[in-house]
């Protein structure tokens, strides 16, 4: 049996729980939620990384659908509700393949039924508009993790890709973490500054996740997790879900992106500008400097290191499909997970270890958050704190 066949056999029993997929955002941007225009029951290779046939091929058994909205627009809360509605429409439309899931038990049940457990994660504290009532509303609608920031700081938490603001979490930020603990919503530390990671791990009484982040020691990018934080995961019980985004995982791609951004600025353009003129400048740069390509092996290097630092019980996978323009060779879309598992088999990872990576750790962490919530609810009512009262 080849290692790829072995990987598929393994995934049939312990499928992938993926921490982050931006299909709802892609559907919002491409077709404004016209689900007829992107019927994911059939291949959508031309438009999307994600559809049901490829999720099946990739051995995905549970997916956290991101209900991401932009952090630089004022209508984050309304837009988040629309993203949630999109996921609910998908669930209503494809009931034979997607199973609504709110708990660890739901995830296990879906596996037994051969359906893909579908959960929701909000990507950025801007989605609650500084309001714990809104946070509880999102939980009521089924959101089971919230990333504390996206690319920009919010008033109570610092982002990895912004200037230092409150220096980690503010007092209100810590209250947000505690209220998430009380609800049973996982605290997601992808995208946040290292200071925020440390503050959140101090404040939380439940395990945390990194829904899509890799190792900073392997590739020095602020979106990745420093070793001192990875070292705390065994104590916390949390899970770091490795991501595939080339510009975070491959040092050459990090450097290339920095140079490309610098080139844009040298031409008097913003580095995220996508106008025709800007794209022309960008293409010229790319012709002179070929884009470095990440591979399955690049991602496996991260997992090897993260395993050494955090331990096998604290690893998972968060592909960030449909949230990134470029993907590594061999991991081009959601059908690619078996290639990663095959690579790890070749590197000597045991089957029980791989079962933890793909399935068991992620299911365990949600169940642990539920247990903590049950305990906290016995002693603590809903928090009425406001940012004004705590941060002044």
């Amino acid at each position: 049996m080849t290692s790829l066949e072995e990987a598929r056999e393994l995934l049939a029993e312990f499928p992938v729980v993926d921490g982050h997929n931006d299909l709802p955002w892609a559907l919002r941007k491409q077709v404004r939620y016209d689900l007829d225009a992107r019927d994911i029951a059939v291949h959508q290779n031309a438009h999307l990384h994600t559809d049901i046939p490829r999720l099946r091929e990739g051995g995905v058994g549970a997916q956290y659908w991101s209900v991401y909205v932009r952090s630089d627009l004022p209508d984050a809360v309304p837009a988040t509700l629309e993203q949630i509605d999109c996921v609910r429409q998908l669930l209503a439309r494809y009931p034979a393949d997607l199973a609504p899931a709110l708990t660890a038990a739901d995830i296990e049940t879906a596996r037994g039924e051969g359906r893909i457990a579908s959960l929701m994660g909000a990507e950025g504290g801007h989605s609650i508009g500084c309001s714990l009532g809104t946070l509880r509303g999102l939980y009521g609608l089924g959101v089971r993790y919230m990333t504390l920031t996206h690319n920009d700081n919010n008033p109570w938490a610092d982002s990895a890709t912004d200037e230092p603001g409150v220096g980690g979490l503010s007092a209100f930020g810590r209250e947000v973490v505690r209220e998430m603990n009380r609800l049973g919503m996982l605290v997601d530390l992808s995208h946040v500054a290292a200071t925020t990671m440390r503050d959140a791990m101090d404040a939380t009484s439940a395990p945390v996740i990194f829904s899509h982040s890799s190792s900073r020691a392997v590739c020095d990018h602020p979106r990745n997790i420093p070793d001192d934080v990875l070292e705390r995961l065994p104590g916390n019980g949390g899970v770091a879900m490795v991501t595939f985004v080339p510009k975070f995982v491959l040092q050459a791609a990090v450097d290339w992106t920095l140079a490309a951004d610098e080139n844009m600025r040298a031409h008097g353009l913003h580095h995220l500008d996508t106008t025709a003129e800007a794209m022309k400048v960008h293409r010229a740069f790319e012709e002179r400097n070929p884009r470095p390509v990440a591979t399955v092996s690049t991602v496996a290097d991260h997992l090897d290191h993260m395993r050494e630092v955090a331990g096998i019980d604290h690893l998972g996978i968060g592909g960030d499909y449909d949230g990134t323009a470029f993907t590594p060779d061999g991991l081009g879309d959601v059908s690619g997970y078996p290639n990663l598992i095959a690579e790890l088999l070749d590197r000597g990872w045991s089957k029980p270890d791989l079962a933890k990576l793909t399935w068991q750790n992620a299911v365990r962490v949600l169940g642990a958050a539920e247990d903590v919530a049950r305990d906290l609810q016995a002693t603590r009512g809903p928090s009425n704190a406001t940012i004004e009262s705590l941060d002044g």
């Binding site: 004022p74 809360v77 309304p78 509700l81 629309e82 508009g129 009532g133 809104t134």
Partner: protein, 360 residues
């Protein structure tokens, strides 16, 4: 689902034969209590969520003097169903309205859960009856302002998932002075599909008429009295009352001096008039307590309904008509809305209409 049919007239034609509950020789107030014990008040508008927003250390179970609504007084007034308004205080505007409505829904949830002996959150007629049979006061979240939708049907569905039952169709571009736009009609059809009731108090006359024509489920006026007796922007002219009667909607008369007058008799005059013009099936009550308005004499808080019912008995209202006024009409409207929703869901997919595409 074979028994689901679009035509609900058959159901409406088969009311249970009415069995009197009050001794005919007793004093009106005594009879009022007996009737209300069997047919409690379904109160169409209560502003408690907004009033509690800035109130700390309250206890609705034991009684709370800072507000006009608490469990002891609701029980004394024989209130069985309470619509809890999600309208926001003045000054909450723009993109804060959606988040503000989420917060109001959260507050309703939290308050109801903190009073499990007295209150129970419901959204259908069956759940309301069930709550009553368990000795609980049924709380229905709504109405919310139309602006809470942020012009998006996806947000309507999300708010409905969180419990929203009633939406006031005014103050937005698609339900303004010129009536419902095409997007407005699509909102109303989606509300029918979900089972969210339309509230037309405060809506423009054009919006109200169009909504009466478009809606497959009965509509509500949660705070409207008779315009011929007392001019007020939210009170209804007789032609609209007659139209409401024909559509089997519900005009819920508020207990406020501005809309009905300063005495119990004034309120009763409005109830007489609405019953006469719209019909006994189309009149209801709306306490409007804790909504920032004054109240007629002897109707100062939610315990006072027996006084009003005694006045109606004094005027010769029959027991069956009072039972319809207090409980039966709201039950019918909620039941029909459920039925319409189930029937519509067989036929219509969730709407993906966008305001920019439909209204241009």
């Amino acid at each position: 689902m074979a028994d689901l049919q679009d035509d609900t007239s058959e159901l409406d034609g088969l009311p249970d034969p009415y069995k009197p509950v009050a001794a005919s020789g007793a004093a009106p107030l005594e009879r009022a209590h007996a009737i209300l014990a069997a047919h409690p008040v379904a109160d169409g508008y209560n502003g408690l969520p907004c009033a509690l927003r800035n109130l700390h250390w309250y206890d609705l179970e034991l009684g709370e003097s800072a507000v006009d609504t608490d469990v002891p007084r609701l029980r004394e007034g024989h209130v069985g169903v309470l619509f809890w308004s999600l309208h926001l205080p003045e000054g909450v505007a723009g993109d804060r309205i959606v988040a503000g409505t989420l917060e109001q829904l959260d507050l309703v949830n939290t308050v109801v859960r903190a009073h499990p002996q007295g209150l129970r959150l419901v959204c259908t007629a069956g759940q309301a009856t069930d709550a009553r049979n368990c000795g609980r006061i049924a709380v229905l979240p709504g109405p919310a302002a139309a602006a809470a939708l942020g012009d998006s049907l996806g947000i309507l569905r999300a708010l409905h998932t969180l419990g929203l039952c009633v939406l006031t169709l005014s103050g937005v571009s698609w339900a303004g002075e010129d009536g419902l736009t095409r997007f407005g009609e699509e909102v109303l059809r989606e509300m029918n599909r979900l089972g969210v009731l339309a509230d037309l108090s405060g809506a423009s006359a054009d919006t109200a008429r169009r909504a009466l024509a478009v809606s497959r489920a009965p509509v509500l006026f949660t705070r409207s009295a008779a315009g011929t007796l007392r001019p007020h922007p939210a009170n209804l002219p007789d032609d609209l009352l007659a139209g409401l009667g024909a559509a089997k909607g519900l005009c819920m008369v508020p207990l406020t001096p501005e809309q009905t007058g300063p005495s119990v008799q004034d309120v009763a005059d409005h109830l007489d008039h609405v019953r006469e013009v719209a019909g006994p099936d189309c009149v209801g009550l709306s306490g409007t307590y804790d909504a920032g308005t004054a109240h007629p004499q002897d109707l100062g808080d939610s315990s006072c309904y027996p006084h009003l019912i005694a006045e109606l008995l004094h005027r010769g209202w029959s027991e069956p008509d009072i039972a319809l006024l207090t409980w039966g009409n709201v039950q019918r409207v909620l039941r029909t809305a459920d039925f319409t929703a189930r029937a519509t869901q067989q036929r219509r997919e969730p709407s993906t209409a966008k305001i920019a595409d439909v209204d241009g």
